[in-house]
Amino acid sequence: MNQKIEVHHFNNGFDLIMIDKPDFVSEFATVMINYGSADLNETELGHAGVAHFLEHKLFTKKSGDIALQFEALGADVNAATSTTKTMYFANFIDHEFQNLDLLFDLVANPFFTAENVEKERQIITQELLMYQDNPNFALNQAVMELMYPKSALGIDIGGTVTSVGKITPEILTQTLNSNYQAAKMKMVISSHQKMSDVVEKITKRVNKLPSNSTKIFAAPFDEETLVTKEKTIHGLVSMPKIAIGLKFDNTKNVALPNILQEYLVELMLESKFNTTTKWFNDRYEKGILQQEVDTEVSFEKAGNYAKLFAQAQNIDQLTTDILAELADKKLDRESFDLKKKGILAQSIRAVDSVSSFAFAVGELSFDGVDYFDVVNELQQLDFATYENFIEEIMKSVQIVVVKLLPEE
């Protein structure tokens, strides 16, 4: 595959990554900050949601909403917060360098007042309520809380209505100053522009980025033994649902990058539960399961975990079945080979999605990993390494179960 990616390292730690798209009409640029919702020390949990609030509030400048300036250039701008990153991005067809300039303006030049923070609070509250109206939100939230009772991973990205209520202009300013530092930022651009031209255009702006010593997090990585491992909640659902959380230990000493560890755990879960498995087919053909079991895996700064979601009328029996299957140490070789093909295909497909690919490349870059190196490494991985890794990681896994039952 011929996808050219170049990286330029600036002296202050800022990186520029260019993804060459010579045949594409549109361009995409993102500034990614290595600061997400879970990057909160214990003392900061009271204002959880601050990363997301900051993402919203930075659009307000003294001259007004900066989005209007992007839109005046014909660009579409947006932002998003994850547990590990905050991302500001724009999609445009022309005025390339003006749009890049605006992106630098967006992540700086704050204008926080008591009045405008209060206004944003109302909007964010509506956003939180919108998510909370989806019954699956409560299920996901409950399983994360059980796995991470003491860290920000156990709190929704947007925070809670209470924690958002405690965010002040001062807290936003402090958060910005501590985290929006050159060495914690990368710009990823999908474009037909030349690297040298872009470097020349943005150097001045990059050199103006704050480069004070960055805040050190007290790595809120819960190592403790979980006390509460089961919970039942009720909601407006037609069928009982379940979320099973697998909390893994900190495996930072394992000689595999996070992304590969993620793939291997995904592989393990899929080899046990996806629609190609006998396990799933037996239950589908008996009418126990109508939909596939959804899995989600994340190996990140604040924690390593996996989640499984399923629904069935006989949720207790299904729970027992899933836990029994998780306890079965046997791993399937055929699934291993199939998954390798799948990841290769996914990685090729991803290249066509300008924004998703840019984010994926950026994320991996923060972990010091090249996108295509990872894909190649996985293709070379042997079954024995996979088996050993899973055996090791499952030794100390803590499993939590949340059931969501229809309201009586």
């Binding site: 595959m1 045949d23 594409f24 009409v25 549109s26 659009f59 909403d65 989005a67 209007l68 839109e71 005046a72 014909g74 660009a75 579409d76 999609n91 445009f92 067809i93 206004k119 109302q122 909007i123 964010i124 509250t125 509506q126 956003e127 309520l129 919108m130 909370q132 109206d133 989806n134 019954p135 407006l236 659902v237 037609s238 069928m239 996806n274 629609t275 190609t276 498995t277 006998k278 799933f280 087919n281 589908y284 053909e285 009418g287 109508q290 939909q291 629904q311 199939l338 093909k341 799948g342 290769l344 295909a345 996914q346 090729i348 497909r349 290249v351 066509d352 300008v354």
Partner: protein, 408 residues
């Protein structure tokens, strides 16, 4: 001679895509059966007589993405089978060729398992569909949309059920009914459009595999009268009680007369809710803080404009007034020229970037065959630029408020 197969050259994407479309009139029976057929065929076929076998076959071929879909376009029901796959030239696997892929595609589309063993899976597919529909309606936004539609189309039940179809018809459909539906399907007008690096090779393979079995491929696919008649019913206001954090508001207007400029509806919709520049975004979200998002969609084939939002319950009355005031302003020709200019800019960008989206390129090709008309990006942009404030006023004066639905 097979004429309805058009494969565009793929010069920039990593994946190829093939869509096989069937066109038939909208009836409640057709919708229900097409939904069931989609689920049935997604799971098994004559070549792969259980879920695991079919799913494994897809994954073994580098994660072939096979999807069935049902769409209502104006007064026509379009049943589609879509296959997205990695271009064979990207994969060094001599067994992975256009021929093998299209052969598999043909098996999935044209050889459903209507032998006796298939009836068990028919029942399972039915349960899966019904379970999915329940799940969809657990989300209050979908519940609101469903209830809105039940009212809006109370004189035309074939359009009432937007998710999956009439539940009773799905429940009472028999295996033999579905078999009959499928065999008739192949006689309806059919079209295959797609994109691949070697279009001639793909066309030849499709003609060979699909031509003899799909009589509809020799029929004219164009639908000259596509538009759904606008609603002539009296206005209804409905308030529905539900346990949710946010209120859901949906307001529906019918176009009473045909539009002169086919892009006017989309322009008005974007003027109202397109980006941060848009009128309702500014007034409902930024000024009132009443919502996280508000959206407007205009559909010429349905002769309908719909505005919807999840709102803070205490501010519903204010938001309704804002919407009424803004519609009234447009009717009286009070159009913000800056917002209009911005709207057009935004739509120009949206048109141009379609060239970077494989799905949209194919959609355009499909639309060309369905309507018999082709509209280039340049034409669309010209048409957009020609829209004047007085034409907008005329369009909005042509709107007839038919329903206001509120879930609180």
């Amino acid at each position: 001679m097979v004429k309805n197969i058009q494969i565009l050259p793929n010069t920039k994407f990593q994946t190829a895509q093939i869509g096989c479309f069937f066109k038939m009139p909208v009836t409640s029976e057709n919708i229900a059966k097409s939904s069931l057929l989609g689920y049935f065929q997604s799971n098994i076929s004559l070549a792969f007589q259980n879920l695991s076998a079919q799913e494994t076959a897809l994954r073994e071929n580098y994660d072939l993405d096979f999807r069935t879909r049902r769409q209502l376009i104006g007064n026509q029901l379009i049943i589609s089978y879509n296959l997205n796959f990695i271009e064979p030239s990207t994969i060094a696997d001599p067994n992975y060729t256009y021929e093998s892929i299209i052969d598999l595609f043909q098996k999935l589309v044209l050889e459903p398992d209507f032998v006796a063993s298939g009836s068990q899976f028919f029942d399972l597919a039915k349960n899966e569909l019904l379970s999915d529909l329940e799940d969809i309606l657990d989300d209050p936004r979908n519940q609101a949309l469903s209830e809105f539609n039940q009212i809006y189309y109370r004189d035309r039940p074939e359009y009432q059920n937007i998710f999956g179809g009439d539940l009773e018809l799905i429940k009472t459909c028999k295996f033999v009914d579905l078999e009959g539906f499928f065999s008739n399907l192949l006689d309806f007008p059919a079209l295959i459009v797609g994109m691949a690096q070697k279009p001639n090779v793909v066309v030849d393979q499709l003609a060979e595999k699909f031509g003899p079995k799909v009589a509809g491929l020799t029929t004219d696919f164009t639908q000259t009268k596509l538009k759904r008649a606008p609603s002539k019913l009296a206005f209804v206001e409905k308030i529905s009680e539900h346990q949710t954090n946010q209120a859901q508001l949906i307001v529906g207007y019918a176009y009473q007369n045909p539009v002169k400029n086919r892009l006017i509806g989309i322009t008005v919709a974007n003027y109202l809710t397109g980006g941060e520049y848009s009128i309702l975004f500014q007034k409902v979200r930024e000024d009132l803080g009443a919502a996280y998002g508000i959206s407007a969609t205009a559909n010429n084939n349905q002769n309908q404009l719909v505005i919807s939002a999840g709102l803070e319950k205490e501010k519903v009355a204010e938001v309704i007034k804002v919407i009424q005031d803004e519609i009234a302003a447009l009717k009286n020709g009070r159009i913000d020229e800056e917002v209009l200019a911005q709207t057009k800019n935004d739509l120009v960008r949206a048109f141009k970037i379609q060239e970077d989206q494989q799905q949209n390129i194919i959609k355009k090709e499909f639309a060309k065959n369905l309507t018999g008309k082709s509209h280039s990006t340049a034409e669309n942009i010209q048409l957009l630029k020609e829209i004047t404030p007085s034409e907008i006023a005329e369009f909005v004066n042509n709107l007839d408020l038919k329903e206001r639905y509120l879930m609180v």
